[in-house]
């Protein structure tokens, strides 16, 4: 299967933060949800993909091309939405269109008008009077009006009401119908992903933890619940993170089958949510740091 985005061994370091040897690929024709806690490198990764940042080392390529030689061709094919407003505030939406439209070869006024009507956006009002939801809708309208093959969104649903979040997912489903488009978006509202994401890419502390088919996650991972006396040095190694209480333990395993074989009926295995996976991965990492520092 064709990859639209490829990051190969990308490293980028700032003061107090580092993306380490990151390799990610995003498949054509599918929706990839990009998850991870705050400050683990999601926005930095997206900036690297958009060429707003350049990697210290490693390769970033989109549609099989690199930014050094094909910056404009690549960006012609991308629609982008950022979590905070990047539109000029002191002009109206129709003036903003006059600025953005000439940048794209494939600009389509019919689509633009379609979304403006659908979202009930005022063309003649200054953008600074827009609510957070309207700003997001306006950005989305621009992202969708030039037949982009790849839609990149950084936290598009944060700060949106649940009704519009559902509408957005419907719109994204519509976009995906022809199988030619690819969506890559970061979020921390993981329930949105259950309804649309085909692949989940998870990063933690600047490192790629996994990219998996969405359904595969619940096949591999499981939440394990049992009595605390089942835990010892050996069995603890089965788990990514463990939470103990007076009533027993709860832990995350990434090898459901093996855990089942080891513990049999002495434990309960449950489907983990993406939030569980994020939480226990963080817990596991913190413990690791604690016990080795």
């Amino acid at each position: 299967m064709e990859n639209v985005i490829e990051l190969n061994n990308v490293t980028k370091s700032f003061k107090g933060f580092e993306l380490k040897d990151l390799s990610i690929s995003v498949k054509k024709g599918f929706v990839t949800g990009f998850i991870g806690g705050n400050g683990v490198g999601k926005s930095t990764t997206i900036k690297l993909i958009m060429n707003l940042l350049r990697p210290d080392s490693g390769e970033v390529s989109l549609f099989g091309m690199n930014y050094r030689e094909h910056e404009k061709e690549i960006k012609q094919r991308i629609g982008f939405v950022f979590d905070n407003n990047i539109l000029y505030e002191n002009i109206t939406l129709s003036e903003m269109k006059r600025i953005i439209k000439p940048a794209y070869k494939n600009w389509d006024d019919t689509i633009f008008q379609h979304y403006v009507n659908l979202f009930e956006l005022p063309l003649k009002k200054q953008i600074k009077t827009f609510s957070k939801g309207m700003l997001m809708k306006a950005s989305l309208t621009f992202a969708l009006s030039h037949h982009a093959e790849l839609i990149i969104m950084d936290e598009p649903t944060s700060g949106l009401d649940p009704i519009f979040r559902r509408e957005l997912l419907d719109i994204l489903h519509d976009i995906m119908q022809d199988g030619e488009k690819t969506i890559f978006f970061s979020t921390h509202i993981t329930t949105d992903l259950d309804r649309i994401a085909d692949y989940i890419t998870f990063i933690h502390n600047g490192q790629h933890i996994f990219t998996k088919e969405h359904y595969k996650i619940e096949e591999d991972y499981a939440i394990v619940k049992g009595e605390t006396n089942l835990l010892d040095r050996d069995t603890e190694r089965e788990f990514i993170g463990i939470r103990r209480s007076n009533y027993g333990f709860e832990a995350l395993t990434m090898n459901r089958q093996r855990t089942q074989n080891i513990f049999g009926n002495t434990v309960i295995l449950e489907k983990p949510t993406l939030e569980d996976i994020m939480l226990y991965t963080k817990k596991g990492n913190d413990n690791y740091v604690e016990s080795y520092s």
């Binding site: 707003l52 061709e73 960006k75 990047i86 002009i91 003036e95 006059r98 600025i99 940048a103």
Partner: protein, 202 residues
């Protein structure tokens, strides 16, 4: 590139609509055309520069299909367009009021000073922020005052004298040399800004 210049004009529409008529009215007063021209050109150019300085605008411009080189270059080309508009207004204003053309040396002088200013201000602003220009100018001014008061008391007179002689000269070689060096400075500044902006993290 042209899109980016057009964008700046769209964004500065209101500024232009206020400042250019004011400039036109100024022709009826007996002021210094040169000073006003320089001041207005710089004001509009820097206003346009400052509009695009927010991180959000950097994100927008760099996510659109433009290269960083184009983004910087459009600012240098746009500055010429804005200065041209200012000088055109002065020219027309003067034509209406005095029925005479403004001497081309004066226009050239305005263009030259504005170009030198931009050549210094743009790379500085790309490196830091245009807000700090004010501080930098004050620091320079203080230094200048110190130099004037401590070391060369008649510096002001000398400069005034120099400008006057420069303007009264009709030595085409001198003009040619001045124009050439300003253009070279402008190009050098442009290349420097492209370099600075390409490495900028926002």
């Amino acid at each position: 590139m042209l899109n980016l210049i057009r964008k700046d004009i769209v964004l500065q529409k209101n500024t232009l609509l206020i400042l250019l008529p004011l400039l036109f009215l100024d022709s009826f007063l007996d002021g210094s055309r040169i000073y006003v021209g320089i001041l207005f050109s710089i004001a509009i150019v820097m206003q346009s520069f400052a509009t695009d300085e927010k991180p959000s605008v950097h994100y927008l411009m760099n996510s659109l299909p433009y290269t960083r080189k184009e983004i910087v270059s459009s600012k240098y080309a746009g500055a010429c367009v804005f200065s041209f508009l200012v000088m055109l207004t002065i020219l027309i204003g003067n034509l209406v009021v005095t029925k005479e053309l403004v001497p081309w040396e004066q226009l050239l002088f305005i263009a030259g000073v504005v170009a030198v200013f931009i050549s210094l201000a743009f790379p500085f602003s790309y490196l830091f922020k245009s807000q700090y220009l004010m501080i930098a100018s004050i620091v320079l001014f203080v230094l200048y005052m110190i130099v004037v008061s401590k070391f060369i008391p008649d510096l002001n007179d000398r400069i005034r004298e120099a400008v006057r002689t420069l303007l009264s000269l009709d030595h085409s070689l001198l003009y040619g040399g001045a124009v050439l060096s300003v253009i070279l400075l402008y190009i050098f500044s442009w290349m420097l800004s492209v370099r600075i902006y390409s490495r900028k993290v926002f």
